[in-house]
């Protein structure tokens, strides 16, 4: 009897099989009650999922309506007639057109010189690429320090007082809500054009973003280990140092490396507002309509991000895989 229920339970069809079988009379009242409850629970689960699908679809349609997905636009066809067209449909070819313009002209016979022409400003770009990576590195470094220190008072399970929790959380929210570009504008105004403004802008934003992630890792930590330190007479700092930090170090490392990748992308953009890095070249190329420069710059950033991605993954696995000491 027990085997029967178990095997049927796996396929989710307890009821029909039992009803047809001779075991029907042997059903205990508890099982009958279970069948009723089970059917009710299934019904309510189905209703909930149906409702959520409808709600989700409504939100999606509403958002795309506001976002202009259903807008129409007038287009002149090759034969001169003007028709009204769905905007996305009309705009798609232009995307291809833009991308096509950025492609360099390369010939097999003159490949060397063609590539040299494509990357004609490579000396400047290389210098700026190094600057971009250094901005990201410095900004990540500053962000990690700020976020690490603030993540403990910003964790609900660790904050010594409620107002400390709220104050640090609000601070982290403010610094991450303001985008890097806006911080960069402010810091360019304060400290002038150059990488210093970029480092501060990205570092501040990274503090907010990382602080949030770190504090969530802290909140998921096993509090029994903290209690073990507390029971031995450890102060709040001891409890954090020995009870929390060893548990969250793998998370901190992986979040930090991920943030470094994000910061490399961010630091290649903030040059738009004069805060250093490759961004200024992108801006110049765009405004002078030097399309092939754009593709060259894109390729440089793309390769850099892939490299950093690969290396950071290797580093992360090595650090997490280390056995023995912990941190």
């Amino acid at each position: 009897m027990a085997d029967l229920i178990l095997s049927d339970g796996a396929s989710g069809a307890i009821c029909p099989l039992l009803k047809t079988g001779p075991a029907m009379t042997a059903l205990s009242p508890a099982i009958e009650q279970f069948e009723i409850n089970y059917a009710a629970a299934r019904k309510s689960a189905l209703r909930t999922s149906r409702l959520s699908i409808i709600l989700f679809a409504a939100c999606f349609l509403g958002a795309s309506w506001i976002g202009g997905f259903f807008d129409m636009t007038d287009v002149t066809l090759p034969d001169g007639t003007r028709v009204s067209m769905w905007k996305i449909w009309a705009g798609l070819p232009r995307l291809g057109e833009y991308l096509y313009k950025t492609l360099p002209v390369l010939h097999w016979e003159t490949l060397g010189t063609d590539i040299a022409n494509w990357f004609w400003r490579w000396k400047v770009w290389l210098e700026l690429l190094i600057e971009t990576i250094l901005i990201a590195y410095m900004a990540t470094f500053l962000g990690v320090i700020g976020a690490f220190l603030l993540s403990f008072p910003a964790s609900r399970n660790l904050a010594p007082k409620n107002f400390v929790l709220n104050a640090t959380r609000r601070y982290l929210e403010i610094v991450r809500t303001v985008p890097e570009l806006v911080w960069a504008l402010i810091f360019v105004f304060c400290f002038g054009v150059g990488p210093l403004a970029g480092v501060l802008a990205i570092g501040l934003h990274a503090t907010g973003a990382l602080g949030k992630l770190y504090s969530e890792a802290n909140e998921n930590a096993d509090m029994r280990q903290v209690e073990g330190i507390k029971a031995s007479g450890g102060s709040w700092f001891d409890q954090v140092r020995y009870g929390i930090v060893p548990q969250v170090v793998p998370n901190i490392i992986s979040y930090t490396l991920l943030r470094f990748e994000i910061n490399v992308r961010a630091s290649s953009i903030i040059g738009f507002v004069g805060a250093g890095g490759l961004g200024q070249e992108i801006r110049v190329a765009m405004s002078l309509q030097e399309y092939t420069d754009l593709s060259a710059l894109f390729l440089i950033i793309f390769v850099t991000v892939i490299l950093i991605d690969t290396i950071s993954e290797k580093v992360r696995h090595r650090i997490i895989g280390l056995t023995g000491q912990g941190v």
Partner: protein
């Protein structure tokens, strides 16, 4: 002498511990028994001040424990070492560091943050580990050890705290019988040779009987029995554990941790847990 006077703890509507008064002379080994939720853990946690009492007072050798704050409170916690059911070790750190953490109350801020314990602390830690036969595991991560080993690491950590009282909150509830015996033997040896007061919460009656000088039984937050193990009769046990069917005998061997009494006898009335 540890004196607990009218100690109570209220969690919302629930009175976990209700006016408990106990006087425990130095060097006694006391077993606290009772059903789950009887308030045993809360009582121990209040003595260590992990939980603040709602009412009542705790007094140790003339020191008012309930009034302690800040550094004094931390020194008190160090001087009444606590051992937990789930060991509560730092899983990702090595055993030696885990034991040295027992010195944390006497370690300065900078040394503690940099994990740089003194050589003296290191010596103490190794000696404590040697006493519990754990020196070969000293550099392993604590999380990789077996349950029994982890509990002995916790005892070593408690020892380096140089405590006058040792509190153990169901130290053997997550262990197999062989390891349970080792842990209980270690606690008894600490009690006998070092003269420490030991307060141990236990699930198993016969363990309490065979290891403790005195048994305190709790029910619904109150002390229902307090005396020598011999005085704990079957009627009293039945009253404490509140057997539904009074004709059933409580079989102490069912929940036994000892190897001799043999817990393999098939018995259905496992009420003692």
């Amino acid at each position: 002498m540890l004196v607990v006077e009218q100690l109570s703890k209220v969690f919302g509507d629930l009175t976990a511990v209700d006016g408990v008064s106990l006087a425990i002379p130095k060097g006694q080994m006391v077993g606290v028994i009772g059903r789950s939720g009887a308030g045993k853990s809360t009582l121990l946690r209040m003595i260590n001040r992990l939980t603040d009492p709602t009412r009542g007072s705790i007094d140790n050798e003339g020191q008012d424990v309930t009034a302690l704050k800040g550094h004094d409170l931390r020194l008190w916690r160090a001087s009444c070492a606590m051992i937990f059911q789930q060991f509560n070790l730092i899983d990702r750190m090595d055993v030696l560091t885990n034991v040295m953490v027992g010195r944390i109350a006497h370690t300065g801020f900078a040394r503690s943050m940099l994990r740089s314990f003194t050589d003296q602390d290191r010596v103490r830690a190794i000696q404590a580990l040697d006493r519990l036969d754990l020196v070969p595991q000293a550099l392993q991560r604590a999380g990789t050890l077996s349950g029994g080993q982890q509990q002995r690491v916790a005892i070593a950590k408690a020892l380096v705290q140089n405590p006058s009282i040792m509190l153990a909150d169901e130290p053997i509830a997550s262990l197999d019988p062989a390891n349970a015996v080792r842990v209980m033997e270690a606690l008894r040896s600490i009690n006998r040779t070092d003269g420490l007061t030991v307060l141990v919460n236990l699930h198993t009656l016969d363990t309490a009987r065979s290891y403790c000088d005195r048994i305190v039984a709790m029910k619904d937050g109150r002390v229902h029995f307090d005396g020598a193990p011999r005085a704990l009769t079957t009627e009293k046990v039945r009253a404490i554990y509140g057997t539904d069917d009074l004709s059933d005998e409580i079989n102490e061997a069912v929940t036994s941790t000892s190897l001799q009494t043999g817990s393999c006898r098939p018995q259905r009335q496992a009420v003692g847990t």
